[in-house]
Every structure is written in C-alpha cells, then in structure tokens.
C-alpha cells in the first residue's frame, strides 16, 4: 500500500507506467524541426559511409572482411543511422542537469519507483523516435541498396525486439552516466573523456567485426555490444540467438547496476534550499 493509502495492484501499476510511456511518446512528437534535421543528418552520414564501404569492397569484391560482405556492411551503415537517435538521445543531459540543479529531488517524492518511471518515460520518447527516425533511413536504404535485412515476418520482428532491447540498454548506460552528476557537478567533462571510448567500442566508428581479435573480444564482452552491434548482427542474421541472449543479460545486469547506483547516490544526496 502506497503512503497515500491507494492500493497498488498490478493493473494500476501497469496503467501508471503506460501513462508515462505515452506521455513521453507525445512529448517527443512535438519536436518536429529536430526530427527533420535529425533525419537529414542521418541521410548525409549514411550516404558518406555508403560511399566508403562501396569503395572498400571494390578493392576486394568477393571477400567477407571480418565476416561481413558488402551487403552486411551496408546494413551496418543504415542500422547505425537508425539506432543513432535511440542511443545518443537528444535529452541525454536532462537527467544529470536535474540532479545538478536539485530538481531531481521532486522525483523522489512521487509515487512509484523513480527508476521505472524514468525508464517508462524515456522509452516512450524512444518509441516516438523509432517511428520515423529509425524506419525512414532503414527502409529508404533497403529500397535502393542491396541490404541484408531479414525478409520473413519473424526475422523482422526479431530485429525490432533487438532494437527495443538496445534502447533499454542505451537508457541504462545514459542513466549510469547521468548518476555521475550526484558525485561531480562537472559531469560534462567526465562525459567528454568517456564518450570517445564508448563511441569506438560500441561500434559507431567501424563495425567491431573489423577489430583485431583481442579488441573485438573486449567489445563483444562489454555491455556496449548490446547497444548497437547486437541489433546489427540480428539484422544481418549472424548469431541471432546469442546476440539476443546477451542483450537480455545486459538489460538485467545494467538494470541492477543502475538501481544500486541510484540508491547509493540518494543516500549521499544533499539538497540545497531554504
């Protein structure tokens, strides 16, 4: 029973978080200019990387470098564009900023669980991003280029599931990064130094399949794998069950880690004010 005397049965519980999810979805729908410029940016970077991989595979036409052939590499390029807005969400600074300014303390007074509420709200925003910013680049590229996307309904469904799991992992990574603000008000400096490592290891620079064996093992063993390369591998049909299993494992592990970090952070949270 919640402090205010309401009984929190399962149906109520689910309804509350679904309401937050749809609020997040509707909020993100208001950023139309951001959506258009995001799509144009995705299109531009996708074109540049497409030209790059065409040129590379022209040198070695029949080779599958690092286990990827041209179609796999092009699929990687457009999956990266489809995933970009889901992982590096435009609202990444909102949580650490709320912690720094002290606004976050309001979250601790609301009913329910602060972590689950934030997850529901950010997933709502992510689903809105997915609706156009993920599908337009991917389907457009699939119509014009020889991509290696699955053609069966089950295959397509698995890609969608993998992208949702990746969005949850990305939320958890962003959340963990945001908790830095509980310890240091200069969280942006910490992000600036950590970002390049995340950028490379997660596979945003080049597919981790091209890494030397040791670096590849490190990238595959890290939670960052679940954030980008797992959906790419599911899309091109490489080790699909293993990729999905890793994603589920990291969703749970990072979920536990972020909840533990949050409870530690709340114990040392000092709120200024009158």
């Amino acid at each position: 029973m919640a402090p205010d005397g309401t009984v929190w049965d399962t149906a109520r519980f689910v309804r509350a978080y679904l309401a937050l999810l749809s609020a997040g979805f509707r909020r993100q729908a208001t950023y139309r200019l951001a959506l258009v410029s995001g799509l144009l940016t995705n299109l531009f970077f996708g074109l540049v990387r497409t030209a790059l991989f065409y040129a590379l595979y022209r040198e070695r036409p029949e080779a599958a470098v690092g286990g990827l052939d041209l179609a796999d590499a092009l699929t990687y390029v457009w999956m990266v564009q489809a995933m970009f807005g889901l992982v590096w969400a435009s609202w990444i600074w909102e949580f650490p900023e709320a912690v720094r300014s002290g606004d976050f303390v309001v979250e601790l007074t609301r009913p329910g669980d602060p972590w689950l509420r934030q997850l529901a709200y950010e997933l709502g925003r992510t689903f809105n991003q997915m609706l156009l910013r993920s599908t337009v680049p991917l389907l457009g590229a699939a119509a014009l280029l020889p991509l290696a996307l699955p053609t069966t309904p089950a295959g397509v469904l698995l890609v969608a599931v993998s992208m949702v799991l990746a969005s949850v992992v990305a939320f958890e990574v962003r959340f963990l990064f945001g908790t830095v603000a509980f310890w240091s008000s200069d969280y942006r400096a910490v992000f600036n130094i950590g970002f390049p490592v995340l950028w490379l290891l997660s596979g945003f620079v080049i597919p981790i399949d091209y890494f030397p064996a040791a670096l590849r093992a490190l990238a595959e063993g890290s939670p960052l794998y679940a954030m980008l390369m797992a959906p790419v591998h599911v899309a091109v049909g490489q080790s699909v069950p293993a990729s999905l299993a890793r994603q589920v494992a990291w969703v749970v592990a990072l979920g536990v880690a972020s909840r533990v970090t949050l409870s530690l952070a709340c114990r040392r949270l000092v709120v200024h004010g009158g």
Binding site: S37, V65, D186
Partner: protein
C-alpha cells in the same frame, strides 16, 4: 556670438567624419585589445576548474584518435581505399581535424544548440548595445579552449601520417599544410556563423548545421574518389571542404587527383574560402537585421 565649445566636441564616438587611416589603425588596435581581454577573461574562467578543463581538452582530441584507429583498422584490413594507403587517409583525417578544432575554437558557441538560448532569452539585446562588433563580442567571450586538444591531435596525426607516407617537408609543402588547416578552420567557423545567422530566423535550435560543421569534415576524411559527382560538386564548389583538405593533401603527397580535380586547384583554395567567408558575413548581417529582440 557662437559659443566656442560645442557640447560633446571632445568625444570621438558618433557618426561624424570618417577617421583617417591613422585613426582607423588606432581604432583597430583598441578593438583588438578589447577582444584579447574578453578572450583572456573567458580562458581564466575555464581553467578555474583545472581537472575538468584537462578532461574536456583531452576529450576533444580523443575523439579524433578513435577516428584514426577506425580508419587505420579498416583501410589496413582491406589493403587500401580507392588506391590510398592508411597513412595517406590519416593525413586527410589530421588536416580536417586540426582545421575543425581551429574553427570550433572560435565558432562552437554560435552553433544553434547554444546560440538559440541567447536569441530566445533576448540576451542578444545586450550584445547589440555593447561598443564592439556583435560577432567579435560573441567569439571573444566564448572561446572554447578545449578544442585546442583537437588541433593538437590533428596536427600530430598530420606529422605521423606524412612521415609514414614519405612526405618530403619543404617550405612550400609546409605552407600548403598550414593553408589547409587555416582554410578548413575558416570554413568551419563560417558555417558556425551561418548557423548562428539561421538561428535569428528559426529561433529554435536545429542540428542541421552539424551536417556541414561535423559532416563536411568527416566527408573530407576520405579521398574524394569514393564519392559520386553530386557530393563531390557540393563539397568542391558550394561548401569547399574538398578544396581545403583533399586538394592540399594531393599536393603534400604528390598525387594526381581524379579527372577534373587536379592538385593545382590548391591555388584556388584561399580565394574560395574567402568567398565563402564573405557569404557567411553577409548572412550574419542579414540575420542581425532580422533579429527582433525578446520581451518588453
């Protein structure tokens, strides 16, 4: 009888006869001193938290390091990229990164994400009342020193790649490399200025400018041979990043470019950059005229 002393006669300001050449030099000197002071004050503020400052500076360079690692792994894995070896491609990355660092050093805060706040809250009103050029004030007060990290890593990459690619450093080649970095920096800065000017119209920030500030440079990281005629034409003759990065690299490496894109185009680079900068300046002036302020 007319009074001997008119009120305000001793003040140099105000619309009156244009100052002579000597006066203009003195004015420019005084102006430069103001901007130096503003920039120095910004720098002092930034280094108040040394740990954060060092992390940010390292961070801007580290991004370039990851890009270089990516380029080397891919190009070595495939053998070559359109006939270019890995060090030759890294030379492009280095020139582009150093130039981008230089441009963002002065232009980062004109990007719509930040500048839209200044426009929306009406703080730009105050900038307009100051006895300096609005653009000069914006630039000098928001010098982002952390981008020196990117300049340093870019320059280091150029030195490393030139050594691996067997570039013979003569004075003319050194001048071409410096010209490349300066022109690329000027282009990035000019695009930031255009982004700022655009914000006077859109008010809301938009990341579309990033296509050119970040995208233009990342497109220049690879040899132009890999692009189709459309992209090539845009980045050669509209936003001339190819003239600022790729063409000078041809000169340094002693390579012949593809048909229609010879190394001799390097002579055009400064003029094309100046032309683009002139367009950006005109855009900025138009933007300011459109600015209506905010609030009461």
């Amino acid at each position: 009888m007319a009074s001997a002393v008119r009120p305000g006669a001793g003040l140099p300001a105000g619309p009156g006869p244009r100052p002579g050449p000597a006066g203009r030099v003195a004015r420019a000197r005084a102006g430069a001193a103001v901007y130096r002071r503003l920039a120095a004050a910004t720098l002092r503020g930034r280094v108040r938290h040394p740990a954060g400052f060092v992390l940010r500076t390292l961070g801007t360079g580290l991004v370039v390091v990851t890009e270089i690692v990516g380029v080397v792994l891919v190009v070595e894995g495939f053998g070559s990229l359109a006939g270019w070896t890995a060090p030759e491609v890294v030379l492009l990355v280095g020139l582009g990164a150093a130039g981008q660092g230089l441009g963002l050093l002065f232009g980062d805060r004109l990007e719509p994400a930040f500048f839209s706040e200044v426009v929306r809250k009406g703080s730009f009103d105050q900038v307009l009342t100051r006895p300096t050029s609005p653009l000069g004030w914006m630039v000098a007060s928001y010098v982002e020193v952390r981008f020196l990290g990117r300049v340093a890593v870019g320059a280091g990459a150029v030195v490393w790649a030139a050594d691996r690619a067997g570039v013979d450093w003569t004075l003319p080649r050194l001048l071409v490399a410096v010209m490349a970095v300066v022109c690329c920096g000027a282009l990035v800065f000019a695009i930031s200025v255009l982004g700022g000017a655009l914000t006077f119209y859109t008010v809301e920030g938009s990341e579309v400018v990033n296509i050119f500030t970040y995208g233009g440079v990342s497109l220049s990281c690879y040899p132009m041979e890999i692009y189709g005629p459309g992209l090539r034409a845009v980045f050669l003759w509209v936003v001339p990043f190819a003239l600022a990065v790729y063409v000078p690299a041809l000169v340094l490496l002693g390579r012949a470019g593809p048909p229609g894109l010879p190394a001799a185009l390097a002579w055009v680079t400064p003029a094309a950059t100046a032309l683009f900068a002139g367009l950006a300046a005109a855009g900025w002036r138009a933007g300011i005229r459109h600015y209506v302020g905010a609030g009461s």
